[in-house]
């Protein structure tokens, strides 16, 4: 086996340990958002391990795609669904536990077989040899993706486009009428019966700013638009104090 230097040891045990910690935290935390955050930690640490293994492109794409896009979408859904909603423990899929156990076993066998074969049967060419063919790690991945694995690459993109199309079909809504443009909306607002903008707020230029104090207009009269209708109906509107109006006028230099 190859020798490790101190730096490699620190990176491996640090990042590897944090990745395992993240995986455990994901399973053990009670809140769905916390689980999602633990997974993000695991993914970032995996990316660090990839980069340490001279696969910088894979590491960066791992962060951009998985941490930045996939986990972010999960977080979005979890947050929109509700901060305090807890998962229902009633299983709606029949026999899912059995299927899950069988699949997990199958995956374990596959992994052991794959890794085992990789450790014993395959003779590694070495990093310099593998990267040297095309002049670099990124160039090598690019050549493989667009020559030998082109079909797999395109099939994956077809899968993604199909999923996007499905989402669009599910959220599609047939319009009866064309969408009103901004011009039409503003015309309707100004030509319509209502007040076109925000109503004046209560208490403007008046002595108090409580809701029952009408705003004063420049001529000293009060604005009916500034007080809520129910208060008017109940007779709860505070009358204008004419001493106040006179005082304000005297402050303004008596200009009328």
């Amino acid at each position: 086996m190859t020798e490790f230097n101190l730096g490699e040891e620190i990176v491996f045990w640090g990042s590897g340990g944090l990745a395992v910690l993240g995986a455990l935290g994901m399973i053990l935390s009670k809140k769905a958002v916390h689980s999602a955050l633990w997974v993000a930690l695991t993914m970032i640490n995996l990316a660090i391990l990839y980069i340490a293994n001279s696969a910088p492109f894979l590491g960066m794409v791992q962060i951009i795609v998985y941490t930045g896009a996939v986990m972010m979408l999960f977080l979005f859904v979890l947050m929109v669904v509700g901060v305090d909603s807890s998962d229902s423990l009633i299983e709606t899929l029949k026999g899912q536990r059995l299927v899950a156990i069988v699949l997990a076993l199958g995956l374990t066998i596959l992994l052991i077989a794959g890794v085992g074969a990789g450790m014993t049967d395959v003779v590694p060419v070495g990093l310099d040899e593998a990267n040297g063919v095309d002049g670099g790690n990124v160039e090598g991945i690019a050549r493989l993706l667009f020559t030998d694995y082109l079909v797999a690459f395109e099939v994956t993109s077809v899968l993604l486009i199909t999923a996007a199309l499905g989402a669009m079909v599910l959220t599609h809504r047939e319009r009866w009428l064309p969408r009103a443009s901004q011009e039409e909306l503003s015309k309707a607002r100004f030509l319509g019966p209502g007040h076109p903008g925000n109503l004046p707020s209560s208490g403007t230029y008046a002595r108090h700013n409580a809701v029952d104090t009408p705003a004063l207009l420049p001529d000293g009269s009060s604005s009916d638009l500034s007080i809520p209708g129910p208060l008017v109906a109940r007779g709860d509107v505070r009358p204008i104090d004419h001493h106040d109006v006179e005082e304000i006028e005297s402050l303004g230099g008596g200009s009328k």
Binding site: I63, A69, M72, V83
Partner: protein
């Protein structure tokens, strides 16, 4: 990373690496303080005010004093906050903002205390992707701040902000592709050396424009500052933050502004390369001078940020998202297609410039004809649809068409039923009598 082209990186002695890290950290903090002051002064001029001019010469120490005040303020933590996440969110934001600067080149190889070293912390074959990756981690800070505050406005602001940043990150990433194609590399130092005769902002102008637009969206700055639209969302994701934690978000926002400006300089304006009249001077691109050119270019972008803020009103959220997804992204993809096709024709099929221009002219002519034809078809459909609508509107409304009760179609007027009319008559009589 021991590839031959990256030989100058990763060989610095440990003290030099520490020194570079320290210098970058201090420079970013100072640039933030300066940018806040600069922004306040410039916006003031644009609004016929004077701006901060009391603390220090020209008011330069104003933001430092504001920083002290902010740090000494009382910290208010909402009761409903999820404490752990609430603590870590501003830390993620600020850390990510600092990290992105590790791959930005400030200048060529210089001599520091007798050691020849490039003015850049590090570089590797995918360093532009590294900036994107770090930016996507920075978004976590904002989303988590919104969620963990346990309050409605921050949650909405956080969701809005991250949706915006993710959408504009796509357009931003696509605008890089043409640069990668021309530079043949994703490393920042090689992209700069690929711009030696002519900057990418000139030959890849559409990419440059798309990047400049999306960088404003990515940093949540005016006119794209919808996450902090105070009329609808109070302060957005940081509404419930105060004191030092708020200061960290503030710091992150301004550092991100500097980062995207530095990235724009690196990818499109030739980084530290001297601009044209200066580049005639032989030693303009060596020694410490390039640091100055770099700083001036970055400051120009920051001035544009401020200018936009002083000039444009805030966009409506749906229009903003529509612009990102339906204009910027398709435009980027089309432009990448054009660039890739032109490069293949030039390099692999070895067409001359003249032939390339003829092909371009033919393509444009076909597109123009096609768009004219499409417009004719669309107009015809539109008139047919309008006629059909008018026909529906003029058709009398039959509430029991086909034997089933149906609602009025758009444009049709519902008729009052006899019962409704009768009750209204009674009401009217009661009012009159």
């Amino acid at each position: 990373m021991t590839g031959s082209q990256f030989g100058v990186f990763g060989v610095d002695p440990w003290w030099l690496v520490l020194l570079k890290v320290l210098v970058i950290f201090v420079m970013l903090v100072l640039l933030t303080l300066f940018t806040i002051w600069w922004e306040r002064r410039v916006v003031s001029r644009m609004q016929n005010r004077i701006g901060p001019n009391r603390v220090g010469p020209f008011g330069l120490l104003q933001s430092l004093m504001d920083g002290f005040k902010l740090a000494l303020k009382e910290e208010i933590i909402p009761k409903a906050a999820h404490l752990g996440v609430y603590w870590i969110a501003p830390v993620i934001s600020a850390t990510a903002a600092f990290l992105a600067f590790a791959v930005i080149p400030f200048g060529p190889t210089v001599s520091v205390f007798g050691v020849e070293t490039p003015l850049q912390l590090t570089d590797f074959p995918v360093s532009v992707l590294y900036v994107l990756a770090i930016a996507s981690i920075g978004i976590y800070g904002i989303v988590l701040a919104g969620w963990s505050s346990g309050s409605t406005y921050p949650l909405l602001g956080g969701l809005r902000s991250s949706a915006q940043m993710i959408s504009y990150e796509i357009a931003m990433g696509l605008s890089f592709v043409a640069v990668f194609l021309y530079a043949g590399s994703m490393s920042t130092s090689e992209i700069i050396s690929a711009q030696e005769p002519i900057w990418f902002a000139v030959i890849l102008l559409p990419s440059f424009l798309i990047y400049v637009t999306s960088m404003v969206g990515e940093t949540n700055r005016a006119p794209f500052d919808l996450p902090e639209a105070e009329g609808e969302l109070v302060g957005g994701f940081h509404t419930e933050y105060s004191s030092l934690k708020f200061a960290l978000f503030f710091l992150a926002e301004y550092i991100n502004m500097v980062t995207v400006s530095a990235l724009a300089t690196t990818l499109f304006l030739g980084g530290w390369l001297a601009p044209w009249p200066l580049s005639l001077w032989e030693s303009a691109n060596s020694g410490w001078w390039p640091l100055l050119w770099w700083l001036v270019k970055v400051q120009i972008f920051i001035f544009i940020f401020i200018w936009l803020r002083g000039t444009l009103p805030r966009l409506r959220y749906d229009q903003f998202m529509k612009f990102g997804w339906k204009v910027l992204i398709p435009a980027s993809i089309t432009w990448i297609m054009v660039v890739a096709a032109a490069r293949v024709l030039r390099n692999d099929i070895a067409l001359s410039n003249r032939e390339l221009l003829i092909i371009g002219a033919v393509v444009i002519a076909v597109l123009l004809l096609g768009s004219w034809f499409a417009q004719v078809v669309i107009d015809r459909r539109e008139t047919a649809r309008k006629l059909a609508l008018e026909e529906i509107e003029n058709r009398p409304y039959d509430p029991l068409a086909g034997g089933f009760p149906i609602p009025p179609m758009p444009g049709q007027q519902a008729v009052l039923t006899s019962r409704r009319t009768a009750s209204q008559v009674v009401q009217q009589e009661a009012l009159d009598g």
